[in-house]
């Protein structure tokens, strides 16, 4: 919201500099985003008159001018060719500063002294709209000016105002107007607030009822509709001060009638519309819902198709405006307009918002209605518009005003106690100060029988509870008076993380100690993940939740696994010529349980993805990390050959707990790497952290360490290539019985002597009993049994 200091001065006396006022406004909750002072931008530039123009002795394209700047005659060299003797021009003197930050210094041009510069409109930051002739290529000619020579150009241009750009929070729609801000300024400066001038006399021979009738068919969307009329209109430019103010806050002045509607919107916060009476067919304004499919061409020349929940302002034949959003092409003010009907209405906030959003059509008016316009604004805005008509002398005001209004909700007093206010804030504020602050904000506050009773003014719909009153008091009392306390009156609580939360930290710590770097990737990915990962049509992982309004196609679906993101991360590092990397990320995956598109929230699972490439990495280095994690939580999983489609079919395992998969580990399928433009071998593992938490063995039971010595034996057998280590160990453990404590494969060996398609597997076994020292015969018997079972089940031959 842009306001100017001079405009604010219409309503409140301001006797401090703009910067100081801005600081005070910030202190009460109005962020001042920018202070724009045009004077600051132009320094030491004055109005001058060209006395003579002579040729430069050494340059064809330069001329030497003698310029009268009031106090002296300056010699200035210029290359411009649109000047003549007697012209009034802006003169940048020695040491001057221009809006683009340039400073002008005395100097010599081709050997001739030049004591400054003549400025173009552009150099002064002006456009044709700001000053006639400013758009011309060459020096700005200001021959219409009557100010004495040597006058500061800021004064010539009327740069006497400072603009504040103020951020208004969503709870204060009343402050999206100059008058609303003035109310806060008055409170902050402890000065009285003057009401806008709304006095006028109806001088037209007609009354508004002679010109127009109003019917509100849908009062749920149109809470109030006021109309007034102006006859005998003379369309002309608005007075200079109005044009200046509109320009200062970024609006283009059009003509007196259009400017009045814009000025009232900015000043009072009431969106207005001016209909040319010739466009109101049948002399009747009807506020009604649009017919489904009804069309309108708006002021911006575009055609929109309306739907039945949108409000239009129509006449007996056609819609003339999308209510509160934009007027129709056919209803605007024209050069020959002689009679106007002003609309000052209150449309339902959510309806305007929905309509504007679904048409993709926004305007200052719709923005204002969406924020909320209270019931007091319509009469104020309308009266102000009519007062301006009278002030401009641009028409005759018809008698009477039409006002069709739904019942205005009565303001309920907020009843609380001063103690409650102090209790919310934690500090005691003197009751008189409380009342003073509230009254300075035009809140009708009184203390009665220990109760604080507050009635807020019409424009303050945001005040509802004691907390709101406490906020009004503290923002004026000062937040710097709030002193920190540590919940002295609260009860002590036991905080900390849950076991599952600590487990997640522990898993991350394991990954870090394995040399892995944690990454952070978006939860949304490209839908191409399904084809890149070679997921079959019926794969559950294909069923990703789609974002209705994504930022782009490649960020449009919620990931169902973390593999795709990790592959992206690894490949981007490969592309950056990083020879090796180990990375991990713990994040949610989103698994819809019902139909797509989703009607209910999907299941969110926490996964960890591990990924690595580079020298020394292979299936087993990655499996090692997965094992460390599972072992750290006592989660005993079986590694079963995996069919995960994006993994190498010969080098991938599922981590099975019973018949439930806790995750997988494997080399990425070469076709997937190729799709990601990667020629390196990549190894990944993805584990379901929720399942690790679920299967975690938390109970530790003490077991005494056996007094009897273990016996160690090694065994080497030759088996077919397709016999797995897990098969061998299972057979060994099965036959070994209860004294078999540990069995591990420590070598796998292939050679021509062993034979094609065969391998020698060496197993280390540890036997021990808790109650006796094992005898050699007992071990020998077990070993025989083991060999027999290996032969029997797996066709193994003792080496």
């Amino acid at each position: 919201m842009k306001v100017t200091i001079n405009w604010l001065r219409d309503f409140v006396d301001i006797d401090i500099p703009a910067r100081e006022l801005a600081d005070k406004l910030v202190g009460v909750g109005f962020e001042v985003e920018e202070i724009i002072d045009p004077k600051e931008n132009i320094k030491n530039v004055v109005l001058g008159k060209i006395l003579s123009i002579a040729r430069h002795p050494d340059a064809d394209k330069l001329v030497v001018c003698q310029i009268d700047v009031g106090s002296e005659i300056l010699q200035i060299v210029t290359g411009a060719n649109n000047i003549k003797e007697g012209d009034l021009v802006p003169v940048a003197k020695d040491g001057s500063r221009l809006p683009d930050g340039k400073t002008i210094k005395k100097g010599k041009l081709r050997g001739v002294d030049s004591c400054g510069m003549l400025c173009s409109g552009e150099e002064l930051g002006l456009t044709e709209a700001d000053y006639e002739g400013a758009g011309v290529y060459g020096i700005l000619i200001m021959n219409k000016e009557t100010a004495p020579l040597g006058t500061d150009i800021n004064d010539v241009l009327g740069n006497d105002d400072v603009i504040l750009d103020i951020g208004v929070t969503a709870n204060r729609p009343d402050c999206n107007s100059v008058y609303g801000i003035a109310g806060e300024v008055a409170a902050v400066l402890k000065k009285p607030l003057r009401a806008p001038r709304t006095d006028f006399t109806a001088t037209s021979s007609k009354s508004v009822e002679d010109i127009v009738a109003v019917e509100v068919r849908d009062p749920d969307l149109c809470h109030r509709y006021m109309a007034a009329a102006v006859t005998d209109i003379r369309i002309a430019p608005s007075p200079e001060y109005i044009r200046k103010r509109l320009k200062a806050v970024g609006l283009r002045p059009i003509n007196n009638m259009v400017d009045i509607t814009n000025y009232v919107l900015l000043e009072i916060g009431q969106p207005m519309h001016a209909f040319d009476d010739r466009d109101i067919c049948g002399g009747k304004i009807i506020a009604r819902r649009a017919q489904e499919g009804e069309k309108i061409v708006t002021l911006d020349g575009k055609e929109y198709t309306l739907s039945g929940n949108m409000l239009v302002i129509a006449d007996s034949e056609k819609p003339n405006a999308v209510a509160g959003v934009m007027g129709g092409m056919n209803s605007g003010i024209r050069q020959d307009t002689s009679m106007v009907v002003f609309e000052s209405a209150r449309f339902a906030r959510d309806s305007v918002r929905r309509t504007s959003r679904s048409l993709g059509l926004r305007s200052d008016s719709s923005a204002r209605f969406e924020k909320g316009v209270d019931f007091s604004c319509q009469p104020l805005g309308l009266k102000r518009a009519l007062a301006l008509v009278q002030e401009f002398g641009c028409g005759k005001i018809a008698k009477g005003v039409i006002d069709i209004c739904t019942p205005i909700p009565e303001k309920k007093p907020i009843v609380t106690t001063p103690e409650k206010i102090d209790g919310i804030l934690g500090i005691a504020i003197d009751n008189k100060e409380k009342l003073d602050i509230l009254r300075s904000l035009r809140i009708d506050a009184k203390l009665e029988d220990g109760k604080l009773i507050c009635v807020s003014p019409a424009e303050r719909d945001d005040l509802e509870s004691a907390n709101d009153i406490a906020e009004e008091i503290i923002r004026y009392h000062g937040y710097d008076k709030i002193a920190g306390t540590l919940m002295d009156k609260g009860r002590q609580t036991v905080g900390g993380k849950t076991r599952a939360q600590r487990n997640e930290d522990k898993i991350k710590e394991i990954a870090v100690s394995c040399g892995m770097h944690e990454t952070l990737t978006y939860s949304f990915i490209s839908p191409s993940f399904a084809s890149v990962l070679r997921l079959p049509e019926d794969s559950a992982l294909r069923r990703a939740v789609e974002i209705v309004n994504p930022l782009g196609e490649d960020m449009s679906v919620m990931r169902t696994q973390l593999a795709y993101s990790m592959l992206g991360t690894l490949s981007s590092n490969i592309l950056k010529s990083q020879k090796a990397a180990r990375m991990f990320e713990m994040a949610s995956v989103y698994l819809p349980e019902g139909e797509l598109p989703i009607m209910t929230q999907p299941k969110e699972e926490t996964h960890i993805i591990l990924g690595a490439y580079g020298k020394g990495e292979d299936f087993y280095t990655m499996k090692g990390v997965a094992e460390l994690i599972c072992n750290a939580f006592g989660v005993d999983v079986k590694y079963v050959r995996s069919a995960v489609p994006y993994l190498h079919p010969g080098r991938a395992a599922d981590l099975m707990k019973g018949n439930r998969s806790v995750g997988y580990v494997g080399e990425v399928h070469p076709a997937v790497c190729a799709a990601m433009n990667v020629s390196e071998r990549i190894y990944i593992a993805e584990l379901n952290v929720d399942l690790i938490n679920k299967y975690e063995k938390t109970a530790y039971k003490f077991e005494p360490i056996s007094k009897f010595p273990p016996v160690e034996r090694d065994l080497a057998v030759v088996v077919n290539e397709d016999v797995s280590g897990a098969d061998i160990l299972e057979a060994v453990k099965h036959a070994g019985g209860s004294i078999m404590r540990e069995a591990e494969i420590f070598d796998v060996y292939r050679s021509a002597a062993i034979g094609e398609g065969k391998k020698s597997v060496a197993v280390n076994m540890i036997f021990r009993a808790d109650d006796r020292t094992l005898k050699d015969e007992e071990i020998a018997e077990k070993t025989d049994k083991i060999i027999a079972r290996l032969k029997d089940k797996l066709g193994a031959i003792l080496r």
């Binding site: 202190g27 009460v28 909750g29 929070t169 969503a170 709870n171 729609p173 959510d350 918002r353 929905r354 209790g423 934690g426 509870s465 004691a466 907390n467 406490a470 906020e471 503290i474 923002r475 937040y479 002193a483 920190g484 306390t485 540590l486 919940m487 002295d488 609260g490 009860r491 609580t493 905080g495 900390g496 849950t498 939360q501 930290d505 991350k508 870090v512 040399g515 892995m516 770097h517 944690e518 952070l520 978006y522 939860s523 949304f524 939740v545 974002i547 209705v548 930022l551 991360t569 590092n573 950056k576 990397a581 990375m583 991990f584 949610s588 989103y590 598109p597 929230q601 999907p602 969110e604």
Partner: protein, 341 residues
């Protein structure tokens, strides 16, 4: 006494011999030569029978004394030679101690995780527990339950990714507050870290970022308590001189609402690039929980009050580590990540 002289001679020869020995082998053979079965001293003992009976004890004593003496000399020399042999061996095993150790180099946690963990641990030590909630939320929990009705202008403060009718990616971690208030009874002290989503993408905004939200509900909780807790937090996270400043603001679920500035930890209020010359950095939004929100969560606003605060983790990581562009945090360049050990 020829015997005595002879013994003296053997001793002095032995002493000479020991002195001359340069290795353990030499000293062993010397020991055998003198004290061995056919050694010189042993020979004397063997010749004892040639001496008159009354002299034999004295001779025997002399011989034994000599043996002890020689043994001592030999032992001493042996120990000495052993020590130097040990030393030689150690010297020969000398290695270059400046070469790199061979453990797996440690990986790293993401800077955002480091910041999040630090913040969480500050609050858990103040008696806060940690809660998580779904990232895919309902319109009800993300907005309505937090006093942001449909078509309310406050929704413009947070553009939203939608996934379906009334289902969306949460735009803040505040819905976790709402879940906690429904599920737990006061006293409540909880922090809720997590990912949140808004359709913005530039140097200071990411469509996915992380927030941490705090909530306290109990009897007699005030705005002063909010300030005290945040002061505690700011001093722990930055340094003990960090100051906290409140500025009035607006959030639909708190009333009064404040923006919270911390004095700049880089320039200590003098003004620098990080704080854009103001000496303050805007880090948190906070406020007293709106009684309306308590009511909607079935907590009696007449009895209980509380405060809530929220901050962006990426933003704090950027301030703490001097990272100029938020997108760097999501690039996952291993050279960047490696620095955060």
């Amino acid at each position: 006494m020829a015997v005595k002289e002879k013994i003296e001679e053997i001793i002095s020869a032995a002493a000479e011999g020991v002195k001359a020995c340069g290795s353990l082998d030499e000293i062993n053979s010397l020991k055998v030569r003198i004290l061995g079965k056919s050694g010189e001293l042993t020979a004397l003992l063997r010749g004892m029978k040639d001496y008159p009976a009354q002299e034999r004890p004295a001779v025997g004593k002399l011989v034994n004394e000599a043996r002890d003496k020689i043994n001592a000399l030999i032992d001493e020399k042996t120990a000495c030679l052993q020590a130097s042999r040990e030393e030689e061996k150690l010297q020969s095993e000398k290695i270059d101690v400046t070469l790199k150790g061979s453990a797996t180099p440690r990986g790293s946690l993401h800077p955002c995780t480091l910041v999040k963990d630090e913040i969480v641990s500050i609050f858990t030590s103040l008696g806060f527990s940690v809660a998580h909630g779904p990232e895919i939320e309902t319109d009800y929990y993300n907005f309505r339950q937090l006093n942001i009705p449909k078509d309310h202008p406050a929704r413009d403060m947070q553009d939203t990714f939608y996934l379906g009718n009334d289902i969306l990616l949460r735009t803040h971690t505040s819905p976790v507050q709402a879940h906690v208030m429904e599920e737990c009874k006061p006293p409540i002290r909880v922090v809720c870290p997590g990912k949140v989503y808004r359709p913005d993408d530039d140097a200071t905004h990411s469509p996915m970022f992380q927030q941490i939200e705090g909530l306290v509900i109990d009897e007699n909780i005030t705005l002063c308590d909010l300030k005290g807790i945040l002061e505690c937090f700011a001093k722990e996270l930055f340094d003990k001189n960090t100051k906290v400043r409140f500025r009035p603001s607006y959030f639909p679920f708190t009333e009064p609402s404040v923006e919270v500035d911390l004095s700049c930890s880089v320039c200590h209020g003098k003004g620098c690039r990080i704080c854009k010359g103001t000496g303050w950095i805007e880090v948190l939004g906070a406020g007293v929980v709106n009684p309306h929100v308590l009511e909607m969560s079935h907590i009696d606003p007449e009895k209980y009050s509380g405060f809530a605060f929220g901050m962006g983790i990426e933003r704090i990581a950027m301030i703490k580590y001097g990272i100029p562009d938020m997108r760097i945090l999501f690039e996952n360049d291993v050279r960047f990540l490696r620095a955060f050990k």
